[in-house]
């Protein structure tokens, strides 16, 4: 492995970098359809029961939701800075930015956990003893749990990938020029974008009434 970053079957790092980001983009397109399909299912069900979904939206905790939105947006900034710094071979800036990204991601998960606990206490799990009256509000909360849970899982995956890559780089086992940082950043931004759509659908519906 010349320089440590070039791998089979590539002949140039430039081409390999292009492939890493193109491959990641294809994966993101796939993920976008996964979340797109689920969000579409949400909107399609909401179409039939606007009132129940608005009632469900009012029950979601807007403070946690908004705080998490801001956290995730900021983590996107630090991740973008981290990836560009890694590519420019600025190890100090890259290390700090990636560390900050990890911290912000963890903070998101912690807030999410607290929010889930509060939701359960409020009786928002659509099982027996569900807090809302309309039957379709159960569906809205079914989507709430599924979508936030799946998003949380993706976030956990992104965090592990970033931690692993950054750890390798700090230990000197992976050159900072490696295209993997850019690919990980792309994945992280997708997680952010998905949340940008979950936020209005799950938290902002029915606030005006």
């Amino acid at each position: 492995m010349s320089g440590g970053a070039l791998r089979e079957p590539w002949h140039s790092l430039r081409r390999q970098r292009e492939a890493a980001s193109f491959g990641m983009w294809l994966f993101l397109a796939s993920e976008a359809l996964l979340f797109g399909g689920l969000i579409l299912a949400f909107i399609a069900t909401r179409w039939f029961h606007p009132a129940a979904f608005a009632a469900a939206g009012r029950e979601a905790d807007i403070v946690y939701g908004t705080a998490n939105t801001l956290l995730l947006l900021t983590s996107s900034l630090t991740m973008a800075v981290g990836a560009q710094a890694a590519r420019a071979e600025l190890p100090r800036l890259a290390g700090r930015a990636l560390g900050l990204t990890l911290a912000l991601g963890l903070a998101f998960l912690c807030l999410k956990g607290l929010e889930w606990r509060a939701d359960l206490a409020k009786g928002l799990w659509p099982g027996p003893g569900f807090a809302l009256e309309q039957p379709a509000a159960r569906i809205a909360f079914a989507f709430y749990w599924l979508l936030t849970g799946l998003h949380g899982l993706h976030l956990l995956g992104g965090l592990s990938a970033i931690a692993w890559l950054a750890g390798q780089a700090v230990l000197g086992r992976r050159p900072w020029r490696s295209p993997a940082f850019e690919a990980a950043a792309l994945y992280w931004h997708l997680i952010d974008v998905v949340w940008m759509f979950l936020y209005p659908l799950l938290y902002l519906d029915g606030r005006a009434a």
């Binding site: 797109g36 996107s76 800075v81 560009q84």
Partner: protein, 135 residues
């Protein structure tokens, strides 16, 4: 300073203009973040403004704007690389396919089979297995 460093970078990375100093990186990313935060706060505030069914449209529009910003500036879709644009645009078309035909069905479905019209039945005791006659 940044001009010289970018000229040097063009030699090293075959003409791709990537920022090579901490200052250049931050100068490029921070403004985007500020706009994003502004949009997020705006969408939260606008949600409390009674606009009827337009509330969701506005919030989703703002979400789309944020997606566009993140895509263009953080995910480098501004880079003139046809491959990235292909992958970054394809999913949009395909989600469009799915949405268009699902909503076409929902918008034109015969009224009796729409769950909306059956909602009041849900409070009644469940009927015996075998379903309703005639359906």
């Amino acid at each position: 300073m940044s001009g010289r460093s970018s000229r040097r970078s063009s030699k090293r990375s075959l003409g791709e203009a990537t920022p090579r100093s901490a200052g250049a990186i931050l100068a490029r990313s921070l403004p985007v973040w500020l706009v994003l935060v502004g949009l997020a706060l705006a969408s939260c505030a606008l949600a409390y403004l009674p606009m009827g069914r337009w509330n969701m449209a506005v919030s989703l529009g703002i979400a789309a704007a944020k997606m566009l910003l993140i895509g263009l500036f953080f995910m480098h879709l501004r880079r003139p690389d046809p491959l990235l644009r292909l992958a970054g645009g394809a999913w949009l078309l395909w989600v469009g396919f799915l949405a268009a035909l699902v909503f076409a069905d929902q918008a034109t479905r015969a009224p009796l089979t729409q769950p909306e019209h059956m909602e009041d039945r849900t409070m009644e005791p469940p009927e015996t297995a075998g379903g309703r006659s005639g359906f």
